[in-house]
Each structure stands twice: as structure tokens, then as C-alpha cells.
Symmetry: C2
Subunit: 236 residues, 2 copies
């Protein structure tokens, strides 16, 4: 039997209409939609975002993965999830895996794709890009991300402020994603590097309750929501 195609689809940053026309078309032509989610809950923000664009009858299957750093546990979960996707594609079905933002940018889809390719190198995979949270944030703020001969670096705040120190003398613009867990350390580091006035905090970009903080000096004690990023424009 001819195998189906796996589509890795970015659904954008939160506003349902910041999904591409192509993503909507493909999502309405697949047999199953998979969405990675934490095993702690049965909710998928990505699935929620696309729901208004979908035919009611397309099944959405949540691929649970544990919120752990235990590599063995993670590996077992990814194997099981990859197997579910491969089973559908092998039956000849076209399927989609949806992901918040863009599938190639800090997304679980990359891990799933690798696991699937290892298990079955012949599976046809097509990727449909999506608008990232930092693009939505820069659009909301109305501040350029990068222009002319400048550079732009995207770093993760998950390991703390280290990456910010690494890059600050080597890039004109910096985006720090995942600033929640080490927020106070990151804000302290911004201050040490004389960047507080160059930084803007954007939370829930493109979602309900979007918040933009221009003056971070006033907000050092308030921990922002989970989905928060920093835009830093050295020239700004």
C-alpha cells in the first residue's frame, strides 16, 4: 500500500488567523491531526488555535510526552508517539502534526521528526512553516527585529542568563525566549549589561491577555506569565 505523507505544520503564535492559508488547506485534507502535549494534562494550545479552521470530523490525537529531563522516559515516550504517527502513514493516510509557532523553531516536532526518520527513513515528510512568537511580539510592539546589515540572535532563557552574556557583544538584536523560570536572574543580568532600557517584555503575544512591558525597571519583582519573551534592540 502506498504510504501517506506526514505534514509538520506550524499554527502560529496564538491568534488563529496568524496561520497560513497553506496550513489551513492541508489540515482540511488530512485524515488525522496529531498534537504533542504534556502528559500532565489533556489540553493542546495548538489544537485550540486551529479549531476554528477545521472540519468538525477530523480526529485530533494528543501525543503525550512527560515533562521530565529523564532521557530514558522521554525516549520511550517519543518512540511510542512516533509509532502512532508511522502506523497511520503506513495505512496510506495523510496526517498532520501541529505545533505552536514554527515546526523548525524550538519545537517538539524536530524530535518527533528525527525519531520517525530513524524508524522509517522512507516516510515522506513535508513541513509548513508558521509565524513565531517573536515575530508576533515584534509586530505588536512595532519594533523592527533586524534591518540593514544588522544581526539578530534568538537565545533560550531556559538555562538562565548565560546565553545572553555569550551573545551580547556579538549581535545587534537579541530575542530571549523562555524567560519565565529564571526571570529574576535574567532581569539582573540585563541591568548588569546596561540593557534594561533596550529591552521590552512581551507576554502571551497574539493570545488573549497579551501584555507589553516597556519599562522593565518598574517591574523587576513581578514574575511574568509562562509564555513571555524579551526583545532587545541595542540600537533602540
Amino acid at each position: 500500500m502506498k504510504k501517506g505523507t506526514l505534514y509538520g505544520i506550524g499554527v502560529g503564535p496564538g491568534d488563529p488567523d496568524l496561520i497560513t492559508v497553506k496550513a489551513v488547506r492541508v489540515l482540511n485534507n488530512v485524515a488525522v491531526i496529531f498534537s504533542a502535549t504534556s502528559t500532565k494534562n489533556a489540553y493542546s494550545l495548538a489544537a485550540d488555535i486551529v479549531s476554528s479552521h477545521l472540519k468538525k470530523e477530523t480526529p485530533i490525537v494528543l501525543l503525550g510526552f512527560p515533562m521530565t529531563y529523564n532521557k530514558d522516559k522521554l525516549s520511550i515516550a517519543w518512540e511510542e508517539n512516533a509509532r502512532k504517527v508511522i502506523d497511520s502513514v503506513t495505512k496510506g493516510l495523510d496526517v498532520a502534526c501541529i505545533t505552536l509557532g514554527d515546526p523548525m523553531t524550538y519545537s517538539t516536532f524536530g524530535y518527533l521528526m528525527r525519531t520517525i526518520k530513524e524508524k522509517d527513513p522512507d516516510i515522506r515528510i513535508k513541513i509548513i512553516p508558521g509565524i513565531t512568537s517573536y515575530q508576533a511580539a515584534s509586530a505588536s510592539v512595532g519594533q523592527v527585529l533586524v534591518e540593514g546589515d544588522e544581526s539578530l540572535t534568538i537565545v533560550s532563557g531556559a538555562p538562565g542568563a548565560k546565553k545572553l552574556k555569550d551573545i551580547i557583544d556579538h549581535s545587534d538584536n537579541i530575542i530571549m525566549v523562555k524567560v519565565y523560570h529564571h526571570y529574576k536572574e535574567i532581569i539582573r543580568t540585563l541591568d548588569e549589561l546596561n540593557l534594561t532600557s533596550k529591552a521590552i517584555l512581551v507576554s502571551h503575544s497574539g493570545l488573549d491577555g497579551e501584555e507589553i512591558v516597556h519599562d522593565l525597571k518598574k517591574n523587576t519583582d513581578k514574575i511574568p506569565p509562562y509564555l513571555s519573551i524579551l526583545l532587545i534592540r541595542k540600537k533602540g
Copy 2:
């Protein structure tokens, strides 16, 4: 009279369906669509990309700007173009300025927006992000842009290979846009930095004639087309 709104709209990397649902909706509700273009020709790739999504009757006005480094000439052109946009908005019309890719990422829209804000700070500007060329390239190649705790830096090859040398020890993944003019120098530098096997060249990403070159050692003498970018994954 109540002023209209100016929408800065990214139309994506080339494939007409990689535009967002929101961009299509807004484009079909504005009175005029502006698109920056070179005064050398009367063609706008951005306008071409959106054409299939538009009502026939919406006028598309090209904003010519000279391909020069002469700041006075450029400044006059931007002033004139900004004035045209302001005139429409002041008449109460909602208008859009379209841009290839994303309006906040290496786009002429940033300059236009600044000029307009200087001339009339009260004009309401809303930005609708678009898929960038490097997202489309990474989707086509099926290679992750950035994941986990990694960093990603986007640099311009317009001034040559310098930015690549600046960043290479400080970022896990690098995208170099605008590699056309200094292609040979850039390829030589990749070799010096032992990056040739980590780099993939993508030309006309998402457009007709898309080309992906995995083995750059074989292609050092062939100058790629104008719209070409390099994806470098150090781990890759």
C-alpha cells in the same frame, strides 16, 4: 475626518499560500495596497505573490525607491513615498504596505514606518507578520533551525563574510541572508572556518525554481541566484 489605519503586511517567502489568513482578510478590506519596488523596474514580487488572493479592483501602487547608497537621494524617495501613504490614510482610507517575507525582518517597511511616524506620529499602524525566507528554506530542507537550549543567529552577507566570523563561536546555528554579492568570499570563509560540510545553500525558497545545494564543495565556482541564503547548523 477620522484617519484610516496603515497595515504593514508580510506576504511570506514566495509560495502564495504561505501568507497568513489574517493578511488575506485585511488585504481584501483595504482601499489601496502599496508595495515598495526599485525605480529600475515596475515589478513587485510581493504584489505578484498576493495577486491570486486579491479582489481585482483594489489598486496596487508601487512606491519606487532608487537602488543607491546615496543617503540624500534615498531620503527624498522615502519622504515622497511616506507622503503618498499618509495622504491616503488622512483621507480616512485603510491602506496596506506589503513586503516579501516579514515586515520586521530585513524589510524596507521598517524605514517607511519610521519616516511616516516622524511626519505624523498619530497614524495608527498595525503589523501582520509573515513567514521569512529562512523559515521556508529550513522547511524545504527539513533541517531544524534551532531547538532545546541552542541559539540561532541571522546575519547579512551584504557586507561580506565578516559577520559570519564575528558570530561563529557564539551561536549554534547561523542563517546568512543576501549571500549573492560576496558569494565567493563567503564560500572561502566557510572553508576557512571548517563549516563547508555544515552549510546548505537554498535559492528561491518557496518560489519557482527552488534549489537546494547540500554539497557546497562541488559548487564553489557557480554563483547562485540573487535570492539565496545559507543555513549553517554547527551540530549538523
